[in-house]
């Protein structure tokens, strides 16, 4: 993955618009967060291989970045995105990596289902 370049990511988002796509969306502060610091309220969410269709995808030029997908009846967004890659299977993988290299958020878009 490379650091987000807004123009390139925007182009990639456009290429998935108005198609049936599978998404992976994840936020996490790690299963050990409360073990290491009991003052941390540990929350996260995970969704994988849900099929959606968005009419407009936008990456906002702020660091870290925010990415939003507008659908006919709703929204998907992720904040904290720092890195992206179009992988060998043509999937747009976006992730927010914190200062120590740990994933804090991920948003991925694919025309084919992700593995299990």
């Amino acid at each position: 993955m490379e650091k987000v370049e807004v123009n390139k990511v925007q182009e990639l988002l456009n290429s998935f618009a108005n198609k049936d796509v599978y998404i992976h969306l994840e936020t996490t502060n790690g299963s050990y967060a409360t073990h290491f610091n009991e003052n941390v309220f540990n929350a996260g969410a995970f969704i994988r291989n849900v099929k959606i269709r968005f009419e407009l995808g936008k990456v906002v030029d702020d660091t870290p970045h925010r990415v939003g997908l507008k659908m006919e009846h709703g929204w998907v967004y992720a904040q904290g995105i720092t890195h992206y890659e179009l992988d060998e299977k043509g999937r747009l993988l976006m992730a927010g990596l914190d200062y120590t290299g740990k994933l804090a958020v991920a948003l991925e878009i694919s025309e084919t289902p992700f593995t299990y």
Partner: protein
Amino acid sequence: MSLQPERHVLVVFPHPDDEAFSSAGTIRLYRNMGVPVTYACLTLGEMGRNLGNPPFATRESLPEIRRKELINACAAMGIEDLRMMGLRDKTVEFENDEKMVKLVTDLIDELNPSLIITFYPGYAVHPDHEATARAVVEAVRRIPKNDRPRITAVAFANNTIANIGEPTFKNDVSSVKQDKIKALQAHASQTAWMMEETTKRVEEGRPMSESWLNFEPYYNYEFKD
């Protein structure tokens, strides 16, 4: 205390590297004694957070990296029977409970282990650890008392000692410490930062406490009935 011979040791943990941190030395000692060891690793740690910055992996490439690391770690520990059980990281507790018990029961029926190494339910911190421990304990509980394999369990929650006391025993694994280090190093995606920190501290003349590399603590899990 030297280890007693076992008929077969079954190791059940959910993530590649759980076995290396907690039990690499113990496993190596059993293998050196000629005891068969099977490791059932439930997931590939697909949801591991450490991808590096700059990143060395993506959410989608991590499982294959960790699969290879697991195979190499097993080589360092001498494990010849590695079972990758195909569950997904962070979802183990949401699987059907009976399916989880059956997964363990099938392994016990096939392998007839005299000892199972897993986590201690209630004191294993990570939800996958807890779900794994619950499945193992329930599978063994259903076996007639005199036929049950023993369970030695790993516990590391912050309230462990306060609630269940000191570990039942600690295996001295100092004679195979290098193999434990190799197993930990094999899980580089999870341990590289830690091994680097250890080296740095030693170079700076303030070594980490080495007790965690020399001793592996366990609790005997006791059934009430």
